[in-house]
Symmetry: D3
Subunit: 136 residues, 6 copies
């Protein structure tokens, strides 16, 4: 039976939901207040989980210090105190919804964690709205 280890992290960012292929009216209709051209922002809370087998010699599935540092270098340094639309290349052609941010975080972490292990990302845009990726 497998085990899952999870690490919580956070970053603060500004964003705006806007599809450049649409009229301003349609953007406003679909995205409402989130379409504000001057941006708004969030404290994003993040849980990264890694699923696999526990190493009997260490009792660790993965050293949480290594996972913490990886989230720091690949996610927090990349997104914290940024304007997602203007400062982060991943969102130059991708709308920074919670769904898309979660997938970007997953794609950034995936190459750095052993392929025998699965990864799961939960991203809280607010304490009341959150996203999990991927889901089987």
């Amino acid at each position: 039976m497998k085990t899952k280890v999870s690490r919580r992290a956070h970053f603060n960012a500004a964003h705006r939901l806007h599809n450049p292929n649409w009229s301003d009216a349609r953007n406003k209709e679909v995205f409402g207040l989130c379409n504000n051209p001057n941006y708004h922002g969030h404290n994003y809370d993040l849980i990264v989980s890694v699923i696999g087998e526990v190493d009997p010699e260490t009792g660790y599935l993965m050293d949480m210090k290594i996972l913490k540092d990886l989230i720091k270098s690949e996610v927090e340094n990349h997104l914290d105190h940024k304007n997602l639309n203007k400062d982060v290349a991943d969102f130059s052609t991708l709308i920074p919804t919670a769904e898309n941010i979660a997938k970007v975080i997953y794609d950034r972490l995936r190459p750095h964690i052993d392929q025998s292990k699965e990864i799961e990302v939960v991203l809280y845009e607010t304490p009341r709205n959150f996203v999990t990726y991927p889901v089987k």
Copy 2:
């Protein structure tokens, strides 16, 4: 790979656990303090999740504003500040345990969300007792 979006909501209600087919003594033995004939109550916290594919045009799996409004109309307006046993028809012949309330919420939401998407309900009766429905 699928994504899951989740929305937290809440309602306050009174209830009593009582099986009318049983004697008072057996009800008291099985349900203890929860059998108080004058009712007691809870702040129920609710997480409704929807699982499916993200629409590339909006970056949304489902507009959280629509999910929020659906929970408001189908769950909060139906259960908030109510006596579940006396004011809510779903519980006229069903004991309002957390397990059964979670299923009632699922059944009320299911017809309003696209059948290609799965739904999951987590219901907190207290911060220490909670129920998830359905589980594969």
Copy 3:
């Protein structure tokens, strides 16, 4: 300089806000959904604090085990899983608003704690609505 020690506890109860000296119409206007004649309920969260000097021999202001047991006997056993209006004599002529429940809790604890120490009660009716008594 004084120290304050605080202990968190909780209880679940049903209640109804209703002033018997008023018409039904005025009760409904003032108390809204909280006036439901069939009651509704809450998970009340409670923080009881005691303020005074630390005993140098024990390093305790007050043994938290004693405070915990006192809250159990005087508050939880008295209010948990009860209908405040029907089962609790303190509310036979007092409307069980959060303000009044906090004062009842204070009055029940006051005789059991050394008079040289101050007491403060914080009562959460929901995570978003709470009351502190007394305030200087």
Copy 4:
């Protein structure tokens, strides 16, 4: 003895810390990442408390529904999903630090609440950084 009633609310906003009387270098030195010219953002959590006497007829110090609606009209509608620097006139000449936002919220609410009652504002910029205004 007085009582305090408290209501929790929240809003999301973008901001930038920048003093226009200073050089870019000094702004960057003092405000660090918070000086990002493209803005970043937060989920601000807010607790507004009102201190005074309880009305014996209602058992209320102040109707929480009225306080909730007042926070909605004076604070949330004014600040939610906004860029504090560009969209909110209060910050045209005032740096939107947590300290200053708390004072602006207090000043906006003060005229709407009976002068016999005191007001206290707690503003969480993140779960780890928060401000209380005023303090005696």
Copy 5:
């Protein structure tokens, strides 16, 4: 479709991460501050979930009072206010990492819950580090 009921509990304990087959230098390199020979400690938070069918007569999957008492007798009494390395036999030859503690808790509960039901343990070592066992 199955239902999952979950109960939150907690215990406080001291521990040290140390593999007796390794040199002190390697232990320090792998386990860092967690290798402190004088121990450090945590408030462990625990969620035990049981998955199965709801009994139509009671509306319960499992009586939460029974689950609470079982966690008390099998987990809290066994681990609370203990030094995991020195006071708990399960860790005489097993390093008390969160991964291993979660498995020990699972193994202690498994014989006491009907085999037709699945069990899941989530163990928080801190609010930011937690483990789930087992995962399919």
Copy 6:
């Protein structure tokens, strides 16, 4: 009117409550499970607040980055992953109760913060037990 800024931090430690001037029997009677000779431990959560005037040029009462770094150097580095009784000189003759730990933290921070400003320390030993020092 003054403002208060607050910063939350945390550390994990082992401790034992024991008065060396007392018999083992009296220690066990007064301190109960907390007297375990092999130690137990906690995740201590800490809120440090600073009270004073806001600087109109920065909008800051105190730069939270400076306060965060001060808590790191004076408190976290001193107490995190330590055995308070054996590894921390402050507790060589002082029982490490929450009351005394809060006072030690206050005394360590006081020389590093401008004397025109007041300091307040809240220390959570568990989410249910916490201490505030000093209180007027």
